[in-house]
């Protein structure tokens, strides 16, 4: 059970944060189809950054001495770096969508093509293969995961459910993401900035008539979106891909878009929706090692369902969920419509 919850969180948290990234962009009026590409960029830059840290003396010392606080700070720093990378990359979308009023779907698609192309081009040059791993065969868990040893808990000690589930074998990055999620949701709903961003996604003409700079607000929305998605991309790579980058996040960014729509562009609903999808993704990836009730039997392998079916499940459920909710869903009114000053 603990394993199931941990695995679910691993997938749910990046999904949640990237879905919120989508919210910021769309609430400001720009459809961000590029979440996938931005995630790829964030993951790639993040892994490169971790590799750079690996070459630094203080990092090597910390690793040798088991100084996990330092290692976690590195993790945090890399999350920030990935966020910056995502934000910068998203400027390409902002520029085409806001300044040039180009088709946002095509612009987003361009970024989705550009991110894997650039990262694969560079990965191939750096690693002479299509996957960029950590230096020296190191695992992500070695650096970033909380383990019994790091916390000074003896391997034999019996742990209570909470510690077993939410502390040991967890990535603190997960909790940082949850914190960021809450903070950003509050900003969106309780601050002047949030109110103004949302007004630009609903009725930019109204916002402009009240002296709000729609361009600025949309840039802010997309840039925050890029930062969150970039961070989410790295967290995804760190927690589920063993901190490797291969120019692909397997449609995760698009799943996040679906989560956003399913969550009706509202943070609380998105949090729940991403848990559901996290669970599905978790089942898809690790169905063969899932021991749900702790009896040592991998339940899902005992029923005659093909593994391919589980792999398909997240995408299939997405389609079904979208079919069921499409009538009720309510997108920001002005999303996807370029704002033109001269237009009334």
């Amino acid at each position: 059970m603990s394993f199931l919850i941990q695995q679910t969180l691993l997938y749910a948290i990046p999904l949640m944060i990237v879905a919120l990234a989508g919210v910021f962009s769309e609430r400001s009026g720009v459809i961000n189809l590029a979440l996938e590409g931005i995630m790829i960029m964030g993951a790639f830059v993040g892994v490169v950054a971790v590799r750079s840290f690996q070459g630094m003396q203080f990092f090597i010392d910390a690793e040798v001495n088991g100084n996990w606080m330092t290692l976690q700070l590195v993790g945090l720093a890399v999350m920030l770096i990935a966020a910056v990378a995502g934000a910068v990359f998203s400027l390409l979308l902002s520029y085409s969508a806001i300044n040039l009023r180009a088709d946002q779907t095509i612009g987003g698609t361009a970024l989705n093509l550009l991110a894997p192309a650039i990262s694969l081009f560079l990965i191939s040059l750096i690693a002479k293969q299509t996957t960029l791993n950590l230096e020296g065969g190191l695992n992500s868990a070695d650096i970033f995961m909380l383990k019994r040893s790091t916390l000074g808990i003896s391997p034999t000690e019996k742990l209570n459910f909470f510690t077993d589930t939410f502390v040991v074998k967890n990535y603190p990055a997960t909790y940082i993401c949850i914190l960021v999620f809450i903070v950003m949701a509050v900003i969106l709903y309780k601050t002047r900035f949030g109110l103004r961003v949302r007004s630009c996604g609903e009725n930019p003409q109204a916002a402009a008539s009240l002296g709000i700079n729609v361009f600025k607000m949309r840039y802010a929305g997309v840039t925050i979106s890029g930062a969150l998605a970039g961070m989410g991309g790295f967290v995804y790579a760190m927690t589920t891909q063993n901190c490797s980058a291969n120019g692909d996040v397997a449609g995760f960014g698009f799943l996040a878009l679906a989560v956003m729509i399913f969550g009706n562009w509202k943070p609380l609903n998105i949090a729940f929706a991403s848990l559901l999808f996290g669970l599905l993704k978790c089942v898809a990836v690790s169905f063969s090692t899932l021991d749900i009730n702790g009896d040592g039997i991998f339940f899902l392998t005992t029923i005659p369902v093909s593994s391919y079916f589980y792999m398909m499940l997240p995408y299939l459920i997405t389609l079904i969920v979208l079919s069921l909710t499409s009538k009720k869903s309510r997108a920001p009114k002005a999303e996807g419509i370029p704002y033109d000053k001269g237009m009334r």
Binding site: R192, A206, L210, G211
Partner: protein
């Protein structure tokens, strides 16, 4: 002009604003006295809204200066205008529908602490304003849930919240009932008493006579003149506005209604927006040779009724008969054999803007033998047909049949639609707001076409929000309120004021007085037997 007496709060001097290919404002001068209500009169497209947008900082003029209290000011954006205490109620409300009224009022002028919204402070200030001016509105309701009148009050509160002294009202009465218009006039007089100065944009002469002190007239982007309302009359103003004597009344013979063409029986149509039905159990008939008008305030089911008749929406119950044949379940394509439809929104429904004029002319008819051969379009036939229509209905465009519809003027786009629909020559013409946003010339043309079609024996169902049009064009009026028919009138025997009461739901005719219901009762008893 006596400069000593004139205390101008705002002066717009020699303003010229050019859009690509068009001079929207050509050397216009407008001077607003402190504490007056100054009307700005002109036709659709005369340049009124552009001039006000310049004053409000949304456009920058190519030439001319703006002065406030005698000093030259630069207004680069709405923020500058707000700082100068200029506020504006836009013709199309600038409201965020999913926000509450309070959020809409404070947006752009929020009180905050560390970036966080402080709504309580704002609420107190707004509530004080509501009390002071009697602008009743629920601050916590979402804008999408409140009436148009309340939305307008929200807009007015936005101005007052920003302590504006110069208030611009852009066509504020277009969406209101006569009673609501009276209330608005009273509110405006209240502002005047408080010393605020008001610019009132309109093309309706009655309202100017009722409330304004002075009036400036624009025509085709040019300044015509400014007169005291006390020294003028409606005919003179109308001549100034249009540039020639205008027939204020449509010329037509009394109607000679013949057989029933359209027979609507107990029609109910669900709404897309809310759970209620948009049209509730409506029955009426339209006859050959009459113009039957459905009047009402926007959003009372007119659009849905038309959708139900033309097939764009499925009725949940009831029947629609045209020429005795039941078309309730017929496809849109099939219905085109029975009726012509001049749609409410020429850009959304009426035209494919990126198609050429000729392609638009055969929008419904491209499958007919004369235009199609073995799946291929007969290009030459389409061309000559389009040329014929263009000639007959005087549709003007840059490159004739091959003009892209988007590049045509609104009036000519509408003419093209009218030409297409009338030429299809069906027994029933449904015309929805056929003259919206057009100038007098185009309006006169369309009115006379509709009257001619009536005289040729067509049944015409007119849906209009313009009461002037309703009163002058129709032979019979039905009032639709919240999806129900609440009155049936002869336009010669009812006043606009009276009609307004029905449109607002304040009065309701007894069903037995309406012919539409008498027939229904007969039918019911027949069915009962």
């Amino acid at each position: 002009m006596n400069n000593q007496k004139d205390d101008f709060v705002i002066e717009m001097l020699n303003i010229t604003k050019v859009f690509p290919g068009i001079k929207a404002n050509d050397n216009i001068t407008l001077q607003l006295r402190r504490g007056e209500i100054h009307a700005l009169l002109g036709e659709n497209g005369a340049g009124k809204s552009t001039l006000m947008s310049v004053l409000f900082g949304m456009y920058q003029p190519e030439e001319g200066v703006i002065k406030k209290n005698g000093e030259v000011v630069r207004i680069n954006n709405p923020n500058d205008a707000t700082k100068l205490n200029i506020g504006m109620v836009h013709q199309h409300f600038k409201l965020v529908e999913v926000f509450t009224v309070l959020e809409n009022i404070i947006l752009g002028a929020e009180t905050t602490k560390m970036g966080f919204l402080q709504k309580q402070e704002a609420r107190k200030k707004v509530e004080a304003l509501i009390d002071r001016y009697g602008l009743k509105v629920d601050l916590d309701a979402k804008v999408e849930d409140i009436t148009v009148g309340m939305q307008q009050r929200t807009e007015i509160l936005k101005m007052l919240y920003r302590d504006n002294e110069i208030l611009i009202f852009d066509e504020p009465t277009a969406v209101l009932t006569p009673q609501e218009i009276d209330e608005l006039m009273e509110i405006m007089r209240g502002f005047k008493r408080e010393g605020k100065s008001i610019l009132f944009i309109t093309h309706k002469l009655n309202e100017i006579m009722a409330v304004a002190d002075r009036v400036s007239v624009l025509r085709k982007g040019k300044y015509i003149g400014t007169v005291d309302v006390a020294d003028t009359n409606k005919q003179e103003l109308s001549n100034m506005m249009v540039g020639r004597p205008v027939q204020l009344q449509v010329v037509k013979e009394p109607a000679k209604p013949g057989d029933v063409v359209l027979d609507v029986q107990n029609l109910t149509i669900p709404s897309r927006l809310h759970h209620n039905n948009a049209v509730k159990n409506v029955s009426f008939q339209a006859r050959k040779g009459e113009i039957l008008c459905i009047a009402g305030i926007d959003g009372n089911g007119q659009s849905e009724l038309v959708y139900g008749l033309t097939g764009l929406e499925r009725p949940s119950s009831g029947k629609v008969l045209v020429g005795g044949e039941d078309i309730t379940r017929a496809s849109i394509h099939k219905r085109q054999d029975y009726l012509s439809h001049i749609p409410e929104d020429r850009h959304k429904h009426g035209l494919v803007l990126d198609f050429t004029l000729e392609q638009n002319m055969v929008l419904q008819r491209f499958r007919e033998k004369q235009f199609e051969h073995a799946g291929f379009i007969r290009k030459n036939a389409v061309r000559s047909y389009a040329e014929k229509l263009i000639e007959k209905y005087d549709v003007r465009s840059g490159q004739g049949p091959t003009t892209i519809a988007r590049s045509m003027s609104g009036g000519n786009q509408q003419k093209a639609i009218i030409a297409r629909e009338i030429d299809r020559d069906k027994q029933l013409i449904i015309a929805v707001q056929p003259t919206r946003g057009l100038d007098v010339g185009a309006i006169e043309f369309i009115h006379s076409e509709l009257v001619r079609e009536r005289d040729e024996g067509k049944a015409i169902l007119l849906i209009s929000l313009e009461l002037d049009e309703v009163m002058s064009l129709s032979d019979r009026i039905l009032v639709l309120y919240e999806g129900e028919i609440v009155g049936e009138f002869d336009p010669k025997q009812i006043t606009v004021q009276e009609l307004g009461l029905y449109m607002a739901g304040a009065k309701r005719m007894d069903p037995s007085e309406m012919s539409v219901f008498k027939k229904e009762e007969r039918k019911e008893t027949k069915n009962g037997q």
